[in-house]
Subunit: 418 residues, 2 copies
């Protein structure tokens, strides 16, 4: 069997199962999720053993300490994965929600009803917990899922999946509802991305290069964000203490994530007064500052920024800083260099806040709060499969609802069209 044949078979079986999954009751799905959680805990030792094999190979291959850490599973992390499945079981089921009911004068009743997407492919890198998260969220939303993890986590992912499937089946999990691509062959990813006939959505999770490669080659729609170059703009009329708190939080609380601030924009009228304060706060936390000319004149410790700094996602304790002449210039800057992810204005001026939130074309725009809240949990979704900076289908944090579509179900009594 060639890789193409293997992938075709996998996606065909998933598509066939998707029809069954669409009809499962919420209770049936929750029971499977609970059993899968127990299955993971019951196979704790086998998972750790499999993970040790991956870790040994990864050490031999010379993976970085950060990547080894991401790959590592211990009892606490396995507990957390099981707990994640239980939390998904506790979430409301979006499938079957009536989004709208239209009663037409001719007596037709048109119901717009939420239904699963069908088959979802998730392509991810070293973290094996994605195997559990993605399987849980896709299953709860009534979708079949095909998982393609990183080759460095192959044994870990296989052990996790085996534990989940064995337990799940005992509670009625249909065959082919959750599948793992069993070959490390890179051709398999390419073949998956061509299956527009059987796959409804691809979700890549990992670094920018993985996501770009998927988006470049996929014939299936992709839910994605490449990177988060997030801005905090401190307006002329802002509470300086609040602004410092927000900037420090957005930059330092967890610098390695996509909703962290990368660039600080400051209105020129307050630059002299505000920049030294915020610079001190950032510098004392070890943040390197890269400023435009005016920033460097006010803040001695700032290094001169180069053009590429404005579009860089540092994911580190580095911040670009620029003084702008106006709200318009701030919006222009964000439009030119931003990534439509999360952008903040700190202001007491309602008119400025309104213009900023209307004109900044990002998935999430904040007034007087840290960009770090762009997250499914923080939004109250209970879970997150990813964040989208695209405008079609779903935007911002994506949870269970964003893994669904709708259909129109029309009930008649024999109506025909004139």
């Amino acid at each position: 069997m060639t890789t193409d044949e293997y992938i075709l078979g996998l996606t065909e079986r998933a598509a066939a199962t998707a029809r069954t999954l669409a009809g499962l009751s919420t209770d049936a799905k929750n029971q499977v999720l609970q059993e899968m959680a127990s299955g993971i805990l019951d196979h704790d030792e086998a998972i750790v053993t499999a993970n040790a094999r991956d870790l040994q190979a990864a050490r031999t291959a010379g993976l970085s300490p950060a990547m080894l850490d991401r790959l590592t599973l211990d009892h606490a992390r396995i507990e957390a994965m099981a707990e994640g499945l239980r939390q998904v079981a506790a979430l409301p089921d979006p499938v079957g929600d009536e989004l709208r009911v239209i009663r037409r004068p001719n007596g037709l009743v048109i119901r717009k009803v939420r239904v699963p997407l069908g088959v979802i492919v998730v392509i991810y890198e070293s973290r094996p917990n994605v195997t559990v998260d993605a399987a849980g969220l896709c299953f709860k939303s009534g979708n079949a899922v095909i998982l393609r993890g990183g080759s460095e986590a192959l044994h870990s992912n296989a052990a996790i999946l085996e534990a989940m499937l064995e337990a799940g089946r005992s509670a009625g999990l249909p065959a082919n509802a959750i599948e793992l691509v069993q070959t490390p062959d890179r051709e398999a990813v390419h073949a998956l991305l061509q299956q527009e006939q059987h796959v409804d959505l691809v979700i890549p999770r990992g670094g920018e290069s993985l996501i770009r490669a998927v988006a470049e080659h996929s014939r299936v729609p992709v839910l994605k964000h490449y990177k988060g170059v997030c801005h905090v703009y401190v307006d002329r009329d802002a509470d300086h203490e609040m602004a410092v708190n927000i900037v420090v939080n957005a930059k330092c609380q967890r610098p390695g994530v996509c909703n962290a601030m990368e660039t600080l924009l400051v209105h020129e009228d307050i630059a002299e007064a505000f920049l030294p304060n915020v610079a001190n706060a950032l510098l004392s936390r070890g943040v390197e500052l890269r400023g435009d000319e005016r920033t460097c004149r006010i803040v001695d410790q700032a290094k001169p920024a180069v053009e590429s700094d404005w579009s860089e996602e540092y994911l580190d304790l580095i911040a670009a800083v620029r003084v702008v002449a106006s709200l318009d210039e701030a919006i222009e800057h964000i439009e030119q260099y931003g990534t439509h992810h999360s952008d903040v204005i700190v202001t007491n001026d309602d008119a400025a806040a309104q213009r900023f939130t209307r004109e900044v074309d990002s998935a999430t725009v904040y007034v007087n709060a840290s960009s770090r809240f762009t997250d499914g949990y923080e939004f109250g979704m209970g879970a997150e499969i990813g964040i989208s900076t695209g405008k079609l289908h779903a935007r911002g944090p994506c949870g269970l609802e964003e893994l669904t579509t709708y259909k129109y179900i029309i009930q008649g009594t024999g109506q025909v069209r004139d």
Copy 2:
């Protein structure tokens, strides 16, 4: 200037204008729409004259009578275009709708708000009325639009647009909000489809080959349906008179459209009793029947169907007919040969209706009504930019709401993340 440079400039200007459009009030937009309607009526003669040039060239080029008819504009059709704009003005404005408000325990207020998509490209064939329809719907939903009509309608489209723009500008229509691609160069379409940076959605309107060419080459998301192979399944327990009415309406009321029935499926238990009735009704209206073996045994006048009949969109007075052993076989047939557009069950059995509507994976599924109702106007949307058989973003008839996305606007009072 090369074609690529021309298209890049066009899309950049449209994207810049999109920000202004997103902030226009409903009243301002409606006034522009009313003025554009008047502008078309005022330039009635100029439009007819320009249209005559296109018609003459089309006759010389040997276009079919059907295509000539589609291209022709007379006073009645110009009136209808103006009336269409007035109707769009009367529709509710989706922009600014609050889809959800989430109040978090930390005091953050997260509003999910409907906003325009940004820049929409519409690519269409000979009907010049699409110029007006698409411009009106995109503008009302706050989007900039770039129109690319068929080369055979170039003069007509230019005259219509000039009339609309001149009148619109006098009422405050921003520059570059509605643009027509001014070159018949085919390279221009390809260049447009590569502008993922500035274009948010492409809507092709026309025949299957146009739509496939657009989908094949586009890096921008495409709202589309290739074709409509729609089914009516007459279940074992169906009202025969109702079933005949629905089948005749779905097939004959307007056979050349995508929501017309192409294939009739009949449960074997009622085939002997039902098929002669429905066959007579269809034959008496000039419909050619192409049946499977069992159908041909019951209906003498039916010709034997070949495999390709089951997936053909006839757009004509031809129907494929098949006897199926069960509801399951009907669903399987639709899954295998259908196009996820509009499919009908005629039944008195609630359980069968429920299974059909749940398991048939189409944008619109009907119980006891004609498939011909899949239409934005019939759904009460007031207008339609197209029909989508994709599952992402929008499904089924698409009106103003489907030309929007949402953003999250978060109001804080200084919240930072722990």
